[in-house]
Symmetry: C2
């Protein structure tokens, strides 16, 4: 089984910790290792580094190679620019030797958290078996743990198959609070985690059928690798969900219960970090006096708080961010303000 | 007229900006110059640097000399250790040549703010004239602008004399909120600002009468300056208010209306800083989004806030402090926590 890790993302949700050249997947948010490195390590013994492919951007090449030196250099694929997941997955799979892409390929985001790696590997293995046996396309969905409005959902068709496999009836967009409550309570919806397993050859065939322009572009690149920079920029920049998965009849899924989080915000990180007696989550050098329920994160220097509640306080070498936890999704407003005032060096 | 500036203080109220070797008087809180430097500069043209004496501690000697190089080196007096204001004032006055200390001496704290220097100089000049004419001891009290609980008060005897001089009936300790309200509204109480004017020789006579032990110690030091380190440590460590001023009948005062603040906390600093449209006071590199009424202070690095109100956020090279403005007086709790955990390098 091959594993393709998508590591080209460049988010702003963890500003000031995340930066253009140090995006979320390269951050050590929970432990001492980056999310990318943890993604590679938790695959063992199911898939060793020799089976790992990483798709990232040229700008991040050096940082990624330093972070996971055990992954063969030839399997770190460098997009000239980020163009969403459909081109990244299509191009990466097309770049694998034909004998390799005939087998099962798992696609994983590089920046998610998995609390129970053994359960995760077991599900991947089950999915790979189903892919090989029936030539299915699988997506792993996460059993919802609350009425989350920040995720898309997979609606399940009734009836389980062998090994707990389910059929996906349709994709559901990120819901509002009321709808999220209904989806969560329905018992037949999963969080869409962006994890896929398929034969590489099957994926390319499906792209040819559903996204002929993209498929044609990928063949052009394969025929003239020297023109990658020019050709890649012309591929339609869609997500794999939109470009393909939502269009498939008979997409299969396996409900995953492995402490998954997409770590989509400071608040999401806070949910999984251990807390002190006052409910503060702390990373780095932190002093909290008469304060509770805060996320306190220092990358150098002391963060001291007195008499505050429910705040995110982050200190990096050149910046500090303070905001209420529940407004974590709005970090982009700070990023936009910095952009508007010509402070690109902070992004 | 000679001016003695007391610059030996070592407070923690402006942590993390203030440190043992960079106490409040050496900080540029409002403008670009330290409070000590502003204290020296605002005396001109009433008293030039050649008339300025500074009493500080040995530990701060270099920093003080660098900060006000125009003050003659021989007039920067170095206490072996801080022992409160009575020894500092007594020893400094006794260190002046006899011809000098026969004239009027004004004693000023090095770490106060004066919004209207011209009014301040006028009051000092009036006080000095009264001192010379009638050999009075004067204290300058500040006309209260609100019911402050953080200051002591001077109760005035009825009836003004020439030049607006008043007599002090008694000193009033820092009041609770209800009493502060009454003092403020009474119309015959002033804030005790710790500013005094007297003939140096008169001060030494009064110390001999009211604090014979201190006076004897000062004569011993004068007779054996080489034993300063040993002898200074034995002087009774009292404040000049307690040791002398509260004991005097006929202490005179002059109500001062000059935008005075003792800048006793981050909140007190906030009161005098200019605000943006959302009521935020900012120093340094600051970005505030949907936030109001905060004091945002950066000494290097960007401070970004989103959706917060009424906070103090301070960033220095090695620390960050976040707390509600109204809890500014409690910074000492952070300092105590750092001390207890052996983090003296941050103090």
């Amino acid at each position: 089984m091959q594993v393709l890790i998508l590591a080209g993302g460049s988010g702003t949700r963890f500003w000031p910790l995340s930066r253009k050249l140090r995006p979320k997947q390269l951050l050590a948010l929970e432990g001492e290792r980056s999310l990318l490195r943890e993604t590679v390590e938790r695959l063992q013994p199911l898939a060793g580094p020799e089976s790992v492919w990483i798709c990232t951007t040229r700008a991040l090449a050096d940082a990624v190679r330093r972070d996971v030196p055990e992954v063969p250099a030839g399997q770190i694929l460098l997009e000239p620019e980020g163009r969403n997941t459909a081109p990244a997955i299509g191009w990466s799979v097309r770049s694998m030797p034909e004998a390799v892409r005939r087998g099962p390929v798992a696609v994983l985001p590089a920046d998610h958290r998995i609390g129970d790696p053994a359960a995760f590997r077991a599900a991947l293995a089950t999915a790979a078996r189903a892919v090989v046996a029936d030539d299915r396309v699988m997506t792993l969905g996460v059993t919802p743990r609350w009425a989350e409005t920040g995720y898309g959902y997979l609606e399940l068709a009734p009836g389980a198959e062998a090994d707990g496999l389910r059929r996906v009836r349709r994709f559901v967009e990120k819901p509002d609070a009321q709808k999220a409550e209904a989806l969560w309570r329905s018992g037949h919806h999963l969080w869409n985690a962006g994890i896929f397993v398929f034969r590489g050859t099957t994926l390319l065939e499906l792209l040819e059928r559903h996204q002929p322009e993209l498929a044609r572009g990928l063949e052009e690149i394969a025929a003239a690798p020297g023109r990658l920079g020019e050709l890649y920029g012309r591929l339609p920049a869609d997500s794999i969900d939109y470009a393909l998965m939502e269009k498939l009849d008979g997409l299969s899924t396996l409900p995953l219960d492995c402490g998954w989080s997409d770590l989509g915000s400071w608040e999401a990180l806070d949910e999984i970090l251990p807390k002190d007696a006052a409910g503060n989550a702390a990373r780095g050098d932190v002093v909290a006096v008469e304060s509770s329920g805060n996320l306190l994160f220092s990358e150098g220097g002391t963060v001291a708080v007195l008499g505050v509640e429910g705040l995110v306080v982050v200190r990096t070498g050149d910046a500090v961010l303070v905001m209420p936890k529940e407004r974590s999704q709005e970090v982009r407003k700070i990023v936009a303000a910095l952009q508007q005032s010509g402070r690109g060096e902070l992004l």
